[in-house]
Symmetry: C2
Subunit: 320 residues, 2 copies
Amino acid sequence: MANIKDIAKMAGVSVTTVSRVINNHPYVSFEKREAVLRAIEVSKYEKNINAVHLSKGKTFLIGIAIPFSNHPFFALIVEGIANEALNNNYKLVLFQTNYEEFREIEALDMLKQKQIDALIICSRICQWDTIDAYLDYGPIIFCEDTRDKKVSSIFMDHYKSFSKALEYLHFKGHRKVGICVGRRTGFNGEQRILAYRDFLNKINEPFESEYIFSDCYDFENGEEIVQRLINMNNPPSALLVSNDQVAAGIVTCSKEKRISIPHELAIIGFDNQPIAKIMNITTIEIPLVEMGRKLFLRAINNKNISQEEISVKLVERLTV
Amino acid sequence: MANIKDIAKMAGVSVTTVSRVINNHPYVSFEKREAVLRAIEVSKYEKNINAVHLSKGKTFLIGIAIPFSNHPFFALIVEGIANEALNNNYKLVLFQTNYEEFREIEALDMLKQKQIDALIICSRICQWDTIDAYLDYGPIIFCEDTRDKKVSSIFMDHYKSFSKALEYLHFKGHRKVGICVGRRTGFNGEQRILAYRDFLNKINEPFESEYIFSDCYDFENGEEIVQRLINMNNPPSALLVSNDQVAAGIVTCSKEKRISIPHELAIIGFDNQPIAKIMNITTIEIPLVEMGRKLFLRAINNKNISQEEISVKLVERLTV
């Protein structure tokens, strides 16, 4: 495809002259102007929008960094972001990070290099000191509690939500409660483990490390969890599962293994995904689509730093 | 954020001089060079990648036009595209079209304006004469059978797949077969309806327009379909459902209404989504992730036009 240099060459003029013709700048001779216009016509040269962006300093692109591109939790956040982007005529650039630090840095670099107007980080990987170096280059919005930082966020309080779910299980008579989580690291992961430890202290139960199942993300993980439960001498009577897909996997596999839910094993999920409704799973509803919408609006209008907490609610169904 | 004009102003030099310093061009005096470098340092000016792209003519961005951002069918294709983009260090620009023509044109325009290197259209809206005008600007890859066009595609033959499913239902003893589809328009929609009409002709059954349920996309549509079936004097004994989410909705709602599956109503879905596995739904498996992977590779390497058919397979479970 012809670029400005090709056009200049074809027309036998300088790049500056081509640029002047494109931008209707005066001081170009009639002949040179005609030569450039002919060259443009011939080569179907399109005024390169990247050059326009360079002068306007806006791309109307917003970056979204997500760990996985087809995970129901992030898919709902992306749905909210995408709907609001649609309303505001922005496009989205998707950064799938696979929880690899260098991929998050690539996204940060695109912000630094002005290829995107703002970046939404849905599940942070980099340490704050890495992030700090990018804060001057444009809005970076986070999906985690940043009330102790000078950055904007739309977040849910994972400590509070986890505590709420644990207390509900306790209220329903459970003392031997296990948890299934994704990452144990990261701010959200740490908050969940902390809520769990505080809950156990409060009800005077010992901390059993085998009651924590980590790296649980998908339906398929349910099978491994049920298998581990079956092999335990003293299995928990209830599981708090940090995502509905995993909860659905546990419920399905428990049925196959003839473990009665909720009598032998109570399950409470997280998110209120469509699957939780289909399978009648008790869950903590997180308004993820709404969260996505707010993340987007914050990304395009981040004049002041703000942190907004999104509240969750318990949806009682048949698995507790 | 400082741009090249701000730097020039700060350094007391022309924009051309700033540009020369950034690009290590000779013929810049020592003092001017120092002034520019100081100004850059002070204002943290970053060499704008959009300007770099302008000269290199490549953005490493691939556009994906999808009707909905969180639909399981497209989510799996996007997953395949995203995984392969990751392997090749490309980023994705998401165009959610909502099946609105002007939004697809926006995506085409971004290709024309070289903001993306290629465009993958997962479910086309524009007529071919609109598309034709953009074919010279960069690779456009389609998710539909384009064997009669000079454009590349990775596609499944909807006529063949629909026929296969209909014949399976017939083989299982069904003659009164209804279908649930998304759009009735569009090439894929038309192929499905054609396969259905040909099937009815072949088995000498009349075409009943009330046996076609259209605009079925989500789990929620299952409820409406079951309600309509209940109100029919002569309901179909089997339904071919063009997506597993809708099939899952029909199965769930049928259970609530005490309609026995497969005895009173047989269901065959499409895609082999995780939900079909969970709910033991007989379905036609489409390797969507693999399709996405191939779409991406075709987008970045489309020297010759090629059309590749993806084959589907029947997964027998418990709903037929």
